[in-house]
């Protein structure tokens, strides 16, 4: 899955991206409110796949198998595959080709993975990590290099789906068990693919919440990072379906580039133009605090809003008693590939795909996630409190 931060890294070429997409991407109609049939949400994204949407919405209500207090070990809709052919004696050398470390989400995730490796040090004799710095060509080279280093298992978090597929196929062909997580690849050759429910689920949770909390006729502003990125498109397209169904008034759909300053300016402009805004939907939580600050600085009543599990937002939510919800794309998924690698190398079956639960933070469970001792950009859903080095490692 392409994290927002990756999109953010592209911001310097945003204009080119946007210009390039302008002819074939449905353009949202920004400010046209009123009684349009589509509730002001524009045409549906061409990335929208109804079957995938239906499956993710169903998974939101599904019960996971596995220990409830260890969601990174849980599986939704398990489909076990046999891994006996990979069985070998330990301790093991595990290699990890990482797309990037260029945003707080990946930073928290990677620290969590390192801690998991440390927790398993009896079984892991060596852990090799290579950072592709958000570059496809570097990651292709990285994977090829790792293949010559005698790895017992290879974990890949691909930078982009299509471009990295051949490199992953090459790795599979060498016979080493490959585990892909976060973003996927277009091949079934990895032993398993680990990720949470996904973008439709994420976008739906926020939109459903706003549809309920924003009073009838209230104005909703949707803030997106940028168009044309598949996982961000899925988040928005699920929200669009929900908003259309609930017939709420979406007064604008704007792109922020994930930039807090731009986010704040956009929200300020909307407040000027419309007087009040009752709900803010976001496709990623990193700029949620900036959006709320625009209301505070303008002296306007705070909106209903969806953020993410970043602590700056959760703290603001608690302090200012926001009407809020936080769908998550949990960082605890960085623990799972290490556990999966060890299971595969011991010949134990794993689920493929391995769908992890994607919890939502609500008013009811907010207190258990707010932690003033952790830094503002930390992600609450790290599942890392039981790991070696907590909390210092994440500070």
């Amino acid at each position: 899955m392409r994290r927002p931060g990756i999109a953010v890294a592209l911001a310097s070429v945003t204009t080119l991206v946007l210009a390039g997409c302008a002819t074939d991407t449905p353009t949202p109609t920004p400010s046209q409110s009123g009684a349009t049939a589509d509730a002001g949400t524009g045409a549906q994204s061409k990335f929208f796949v109804q079957a995938d949407y239906d499956r993710e919405i169903a998974l939101l209500g599904a019960t996971a198998t596995g220990p409830a207090d260890r969601p990174w070990e849980q599986v939704l809709d398990p489909r076990p595959v046999d891994t006996a052919k990979y069985k070998k004696p330990g301790p093991y050398k595990i290699c990890f080709s990482n797309a990037a470390l260029n945003n707080p989400w990946r930073q928290v995730g990677y620290k969590t993975m390192q801690a998991e490796v440390e927790a398993q040090k009896a079984l892991i004799k060596e852990f090799v990590h290579v950072d592709a710095e958000g570059k496809d060509p570097k990651q292709i080279t990285d994977i090829n290099d790792l293949l010559g280093k005698g790895c017992d298992a290879l974990i890949v978090s691909p930078n982009t789906t299509a471009t990295l597929t051949p490199a992953v196929e090459t790795a599979c062909a060498k016979g080493v068990p490959v585990i892909v997580f976060d973003r996927g690849v277009d091949t079934d050759c990895p032993v398993t693919f680990i990720n949470p429910i996904g973008g439709y689920g994420f976008g739906h949770v926020g939109a459903e919440f706003l549809s309920q909390k924003v009073p009838s006729g209230g104005k909703i502003l949707a803030l997106r990072i940028l168009p044309g990125v598949d996982v961000l498109e899925t988040r928005w397209s699920a929200a669009k379906v929900q908003f259309d169904k609930a017939k709420v008034n979406v007064v604008g759909v704007e792109f922020t580039d994930g930039d807090p300053a731009k986010t704040k300016t956009i929200v300020t402009n909307y407040l000027q133009r419309h007087g009040t805004i009752d709900g803010i939907w976001m496709d990623a939580g990193a700029t949620a605090v900036a959006a709320v600050e625009a209301f505070q600085d303008a002296g306007k009543p705070l909106p209903a809003i969806n953020g993410e599990d970043q602590l700056d937002f959760l703290k603001l939510w608690k302090d200012k008693q926001l009407t809020a919800v936080a769908p998550t794309y949990p960082t605890y998924q960085w623990r799972t590939p290490v556990l999966a690698a060890l299971r595969i190398l011991r010949g134990e079956p794993v689920s493929s795909p391995w769908k992890l639960p994607q919890p939502t933070i609500t008013q009811d469970n907010l207190d258990q996630y707010v932690d003033d001792a952790m830094p503002p950009l930390h992600y609450a859903m790290c599942g890392c409190t039981d790991l070696p080095g907590y909390p210092q490692r994440w500070k």
Binding site: Q107, D259, D297, D312, P375, L377
Partner: protein, 336 residues
């Protein structure tokens, strides 16, 4: 401007410029009339679409939000009018914000020491740009491009590619808060006060002898040198001013939006566009500081207008590019 021309040692240049001045002081190349006219037109267009914009509270908050880019443009003006470029300011702003967040780490007690440190850092970067350009004779386009890349890489390395820490409320006050309940005006943003102070100081400087020397250096470095001006030192001063202006902009921007890796993204181009739009000649020697600052305000007004008319913000860069091309072509035509 006429005043410093009388001290211009190059007789022919004075002759040519006196002719230009005779055609009209305000409309000559480098005058501020065209930019005032453009700004007025944009304000009329905003008034048609969104009269509320002119309520004191929203107008002042707009000016406060525009303060960082106006200050950056003012710094960039000195560099451009002296015949150079500063492409490093955007990455310097980002570096300053990221450094501030990591060093302050949400501890109010560290605010002021870190602010001092930021000014020291801005000064050093400007000094390095100036000395490399003048003493080593590296074209400033390359010097500051190199500085840009160095800063981007250094920040990436130092922060592992993602911002850490946090800014204190004390630090954020300047970019975010306002003096409340001012009679008639309502909220008076601190950023606007900072802007007025910085603009006042810089305007004084630009009218002082060293300020005028910068224009002369940009117009014709050879004649300036023959007249006894230390060209290298004058240009270095311009780069230092740009570095310090970027520091003030960083404090305001960091205050406005909080810590972000994109705090300064693309600002070097916005600043250059603003300066050029304000009638300052690329290559130096012509233009007024007030014009550059009005250019920045006009650019921000244009972006606000685009927003009010529902034009995609994605066109921002395109618009900037068109402005640079148009302004430079018009300038070239007029000089013929």
């Amino acid at each position: 401007m006429t005043a410093e021309l009388t001290r211009d040692p190059d007789g022919t240049a004075t002759q040519r410029r006196s002719g230009a001045a005779a055609r009209g002081r305000l409309t000559r190349p480098g005058g501020v009339l065209p930019i005032v006219a453009i700004l007025a037109l944009l304000l009329v267009l905003i008034a048609i679409q969104q009269p509320d914009f002119f309520q004191p509270a929203s107008l002042l908050s707009f000016l406060g939000r525009s303060a960082p880019i106006i200050i950056l443009a003012a710094g960039q003006y000195f560099v451009i009018v002296s015949g150079e470029f500063d492409l490093s300011v955007g990455s310097l702003v980002t570096a300053q914000v990221v450094v501030a967040a990591r060093l302050i780490d949400s501890d109010p007690g560290r605010t002021w020491p870190v602010v001092l440190l930021l000014f020291g850092f801005g000064l050093l970067v400007g000094l390095a740009n100036g000395l490399i350009t003048t003493a080593l004779r590296v074209p400033s386009f390359i010097t500051t491009l190199g500085m840009y890349l160095i800063l981007v890489g250094a920040v990436y390395l130092w922060s592992d590619g993602a911002p850490r820490g946090g800014l204190s409320d004390e630090f954020r006050r300047f970019g975010r808060l306002a003096v409340e309940d001012v009679p008639l005006l309502g909220r008076l943003p601190y950023a606007l006060l900072v802007l007025l102070a910085v603009a006042g100081l810089l305007l004084l400087f630009s009218r002082s002898d060293p300020g005028r020397t910068l224009v002369a250096v940009g117009d014709n470095p050879r004649t300036a040198e023959l007249a006894g001006v230390r060209v290298g030192r004058a240009k270095t001063v311009a780069f230092v001013l740009s570095g310090l202006a970027a520091t003030v902009a960083a404090i305001l921007l960091g205050g406005y939006s909080g810590v972000s890796f994109q705090a300064g993204l693309g600002l070097e181009f916005t600043a250059i566009t603003a300066v050029v739009l304000g009638g300052v000649a690329l290559g130096g020697g012509r233009g007024a500081l007030l014009g550059a600052m009005l250019g920045a305000l006009t650019l921000e007004t244009l972006f606000t207008l685009m927003n009010f008319y529902g034009v995609s913000g994605a066109l921002k860069s395109t618009v900037q590019g068109l402005i640079i091309l148009a302004a430079v072509s018009v300038g070239a035509l007029r000089r013929r």
